[in-house]
Amino acid sequence: MSGQTVKITIDGSVVEAREGLTILQAAGEAGIYIPHLCYHKDLLPGGHCRVCTVKVNGKPINACTMVVGGGMVIENDTAELNDLRKSIIEMLFVEGNHICPGCEKSGNCELQALAYRFGMMSPRYPYLFPAKQVDGSHPNVYIDRNRCILCGRCVRSSQEKDHKRVFGFEDRGIQMRLAVDSERQLAETDLAAADKAASYCPTGSLVVKRVGWKMPVGTRKYDKEPIGSDIAGRRK
């Protein structure tokens, strides 16, 4: 990173962005929230979910992987893009079994928070109710694939933070699922409860056991303020 800056325009506002940052990072520094889901600030961007799609000079592109360039004209908070983002969230809801009332991540879940932010009352697509596998074999962590959105955060954090390779993906398309580094189940991997990988899951798919339901309703992360309020609050 050279320490030099470039000027970009986001939704009509001129923003001074440090060279080498991605659009998502530069917008965040300027206090502009670009909705995102598979991206996490501590991890390398994956570019899986496309929720952070913006238009750069009229062309749709991932804000989490695209590096800023001088003179970029970026559309972010537009009705068209927000509806596309909402439709992605809706697809994730119908492709899994996201039964919020029975999930310990409810209130702290980023998928649910984005549904709230985009005002999702009911998905426009029919529910698929797929059969998914739950893996409770590990003494301290469980996988509930009903709630997995294939963001790859556990895959990336296991490699980048824990220097292990506990998680990966199997199969492709609608059949794609989270796999673990063993012939059968999570208990046979070298995953430890203290591993960072277990804490990056945006939904209730990879959960540390015996810590759920601790926060009273009303005090959870997204009970009062929409997701992204912290970033938007930094705007000068």
Binding site: F93, N97, H98, I99, C100, P101, G102, C103, S106, G107, Q112, A115, Y116, G119, M121, S122, P123, P126, Y127, F129, P130, A131, K132, V217, D223, K224, E225, P226
Partner: protein, 181 residues
């Protein structure tokens, strides 16, 4: 203008959303000035007495009786509202959707660890509604006009929606009124 006619029903659900309707507390007295209940568990009217302005549906569709009720609601109601997660997404009852119906019934009546059923018979009386293979959200069976999410939706949300509808004003719901749990 006469009173607005409202009908409500609870299908495959826990009745919690109706409890939340009652949870509007003393505002019920204001509500009763504005509305007249038709078919509803609140007044125990079993069949529609005529056309209704607003129908409120709690719960998903899981059997042939639900199907009949929901079709009758669509036929009689000008506006249909799905209330709560079961009506909107199937909810907790829809957790059986990934399991074949035969296995569900066998687990409940034959194989479950606490089952006492010496005749080994799964209930099959013709008076018992026939279960469907899956629990369906209401809007996948009939057209639904509005959704009130929550498990249950807070009483304040129900009050805000009902008063907006009854007074013909746009519905404005603050962020914390819309929850999926």
């Amino acid at each position: 203008m006469g009173k607005v006619k409202v009908a409500t029903t609870a299908m495959t659900s826990c009745f919690g959303c109706h409890m939340s309707i009652l949870d509007i507390d003393e505002r019920l007295l204001d509500l009763i000035e504005l509305v007249e209940f038709d078919k509803s568990p609140i007044d125990d009217i079993k069949e529609f007495t005529g056309p209704v302005d607003v129908g409120i549906i709690e719960g998903g569709v899981s059997n042939d009786e639900n199907l009949e009720v929901i079709r009758s609601f669509r036929k009689h109601c000008k506006i249909l509202i799905s209330i709560g997660e079961c009506a909107i997404e199937g909810g907790i009852p829809a957790m059986r959707n990934a399991v074949p119906l035969k296995e569900c019934l066998e687990e409940a009546y034959l194989k479950g660890p606490t089952v006492y059923n010496p005749k080994g018979r799964i209930p099959d009386d013709p008076d018992i509604p026939m279960l469907m293979n899956k629990v369906y959200p209401v809007h996948e069976v009939v057209k639904v006009d509005y959704f009130m999410p929550g498990c249950p939706p807070p009483a304040d949300q129900i009050w805000a929606v009902l008063t907006a509808l009854l007074t013909g004003k746009p519905i404005e719901l603050p962020y914390e009124f819309i929850k999926k749990d």
